[in-house]
Symmetry: C2
């Protein structure tokens, strides 16, 4: 259980304060904090309270969304990512996960160029703050408006284009990449290049009835989570396994029971 992390969005109905109470009760050792959970809060206090709860802050979710139709829009995205870097530093998060962005109708190649430029623009501030950045390839069903980076190969290409800075890596989320025939090879490559920054788990339900908010708890779907997890570990990765689930169905139930189920399914997965 020492590698179990839960995202605040996974138990969205709970406040951050409730997460800090409830997560440790189920043996959760890490927390990835979504930015909306920080709204109206003193960031220094969040850092202290999280430490006092015995939780590692694994990541801040999320930066990114760099592409925009106008230069003004792209600068606004850069400014927002600079703010995220300040927030991550203030709460003691060592990593920001980037949902890279896309503009419907804009060529994906152009969006990937804007993503590369955006990361380059915020990289000095991230390095100064000691905050790493993780490009999260998103499932191709989000290529219209959420991310033009849809495979690990493309994430590697952006890292390459940036000159392979140590602070830019990849967040592997099984939901997004499980179908990719190159997955094992690309995970291996991420290990060899020091780019494997984060590992997210959940499951893919059949049928999936909503493109955004119908993810499954581990075991409820078809993803070979344990196999992918073993590939990740084989690279030498020892970081947290982060449970990131968006689910209208699971959010509608009792969140404390849901946390029990998360802990149980995690324990079964890694038994």
């Amino acid at each position: 259980m020492r590698r179990l992390c839960v995202h605040t969005i996974t138990t969205k109905p709970l406040s951050l304060e409730e997460c800090l109470v409830e997560f440790p009760k189920r043996g959760v050792s890490g927390i990835t904090i979504w930015r909306q959970a920080l709204e109206g809060r003193d960031l220094g206090a969040v850092a202290r309270q999280t430490r006092e709860a015995g939780l590692d802050v694994v990541s801040l979710c999320r930066g990114g969304f760099f592409p925009a139709a106008t230069a003004t829009g792209r600068q606004a995205a850069i400014d927002d990512n600079l703010k995220a870097i300040e927030q991550a530093h203030a709460i003691g998060a060592p990593l920001i996960v980037l949902v890279c962005g896309a503009v419907p109708g804009q060529p994906l190649v152009e969006s990937r160029k804007q993503i590369t430029d955006g990361i380059a623009a915020v990289l000095p501030a991230a390095e100064k703050a000691g905050v790493k950045l993780a490009i999260e390839p998103l499932h191709p069903m989000y290529a219209d408006d959420r991310s033009a980076v849809n495979t690990m190969r493309q994430a590697h290409e952006i890292c390459d284009a940036l000159g392979s800075p140590k602070s830019v890596g990849i967040a592997v989320d099984v939901y997004h990449v499980w179908w990719d025939p190159e997955l094992k090879e690309q995970i291996d490559h991420a290990g060899k290049t020091g780019r494997l920054h984060a590992f997210h788990i959940c499951d893919w339900r059949t049928p999936t009835i909503d493109l955004l908010n119908d993810r499954g708890l581990m075991g409820e779907g078809c993803i070979n989570i344990r196999e992918i997890s073993d590939w990740v570990d084989a690279t030498g990765f020892t970081g947290h396994r982060e449970v990131e689930i968006f689910s209208n169905r699971l959010w509608s139930g009792d969140q404390r029971e849901f946390l029990e189920k998360i802990a149980a399914s995690y324990a079964q997965l890694y038994a």
Copy 2:
């Protein structure tokens, strides 16, 4: 307009007989017939009526769904595909589109092997009947239960594994492959290998509210349809451009008006 084909499923509320009346009125020159439209009909009569309507039968949709958890299930799939080959021959369809299939939880590599074996099993019958087969790579969001073939590269690999028989090729549907960074290269390769058997068009809406039945009419979404179409034509492809749209929204309206819109958006796309 001489290359405009419409799938019977696109105007699902219309009977096959209504399609044969309504399609030609809007300048549609080709028809791809879905198997459910053949239910309870005399296939020889369908062939004759379609010819009399002045419509080319472009394809029969759909065969495939080869993977199954049991040998009995896989044999049933082969039998069903043999039946589809007979149907295609009887209605004068030169091609069957294969939605290849997948079994939730079964490794995709195993499903692709079963797909390859399934195609090999029906290939002699297809060749004897003069019916070609087209592997249609499906979007990765269908990798759980509809197709373990999610990229053109994988479709090519199956053609290679079969020894590149002339009668097995690929159906390119922009909805499934538009996001693929290798798309142009793989279309070029399909041209060079004589595998480009069919070309389907529609659009990707933002937001997409249903994984199956929320496709857009050309122009309603973000896909670079004309660019992809030009890549297809650059290979020497001169076949029909097939409008295949599944949409609860568009099916709920007047289908004759919908056909007018299809013809208008097609004319605009290829102006």
